[in-house]
């Protein structure tokens, strides 16, 4: 099933997140890790884009969200996964595109 995209940069710091969205087709998953998790927080324009991107599944790596003190700021519609969940996502998808 589609690609797994990972994004590890803050959406405010680089255009990696936007670039990824342009390539995320229906059936693919975007996993936000490291500083990429900031895109998953409420009240940001990135979260708004996630809401409008139908057909794409969004996930965030829990440990990275926790480290940054932002668990309570998670926007709706984004799945939280742990490291095991990360591995499962890799296994479930056809291939992985790690956006840098």
């Amino acid at each position: 099933m589609g690609l797994l995209h990972t994004v590890n940069k803050s959406p405010f710091e680089s255009n990696t997140f936007d670039a990824c969205l342009g390539y995320a087709l229906d059936g693919s998953t975007v996993l936000l890790i490291e500083d990429g998790v900031y895109a998953a927080t409420t009240g940001t324009s990135a979260a708004e884009k996630i809401k409008n991107a139908s057909g794409v599944t969004f996930a965030v790596l829990g440990p990275d969200l926790q480290a940054r003190g932002l668990e309570s700021k998670l926007a709706d519609g984004i799945k939280v996964v742990d490291y095991e969940g990360f591995v499962n996502l890799v296994a479930e998808h056809d291939s992985v595109q790690s956006w840098l």
Binding site: E34, Y38, Q66, R68, K73
Partner: protein, 134 residues
């Protein structure tokens, strides 16, 4: 030694890169020299101050408690840019409450964080003699 106005400008989120931690270490080392120090948090730098950081699961040191020691180092002018917070869906309530103790007033606790607009911070920045950017 003449006292100079130092400003450390923090623009990077913690943990993803090493800038935030490096800045903090330089601030602590520099504090030994009794200068007029202020810290500015703008852009992703405001993420350095979020409360409730818990890094156990990512295997990195949680250095956020160090910010609350800054008052002990006489670093008590901490400017947070309002626009940067808003853009990120954050308010001051999402940040640590940083205070310093005024020895001259029987250790009265005073707020260290000053919420300022970009224009106000630009003025403060222009008054500095030495600016270090992270």
């Amino acid at each position: 030694m003449a006292v100079k106005k130092f400003m450390y400008v923090n623009r990077k989120a913690p943990y993803g890169t090493v800038y935030a931690l490096e800045s903090l270490e330089v601030v602590l080392i520099g504090a030994a020299f009794d200068q007029d120090v202020s810290l500015a948090f703008i852009g992703d730098g405001v993420y350095e101050l979020t409360k409730g950081q818990d890094t156990k699961a990512i295997g990195q040191k949680n250095f956020s408690p160090v910010y609350s020691a800054l008052g002990d180092y006489d670093v008590n002018k901490i400017y947070v840019e309002k626009e940067s917070l808003e853009e990120r869906g954050l308010t001051l309530d999402d940040l640590q409450h940083l205070v310093w103790e005024d020895e001259d007033e029987d250790y009265a606790e005073k707020d260290s964080i000053r919420l300022v607009s970009r224009a106000e911070l630009a003025d403060v920045m222009s008054e500095q003699e030495i600016i270090l950017s992270f």
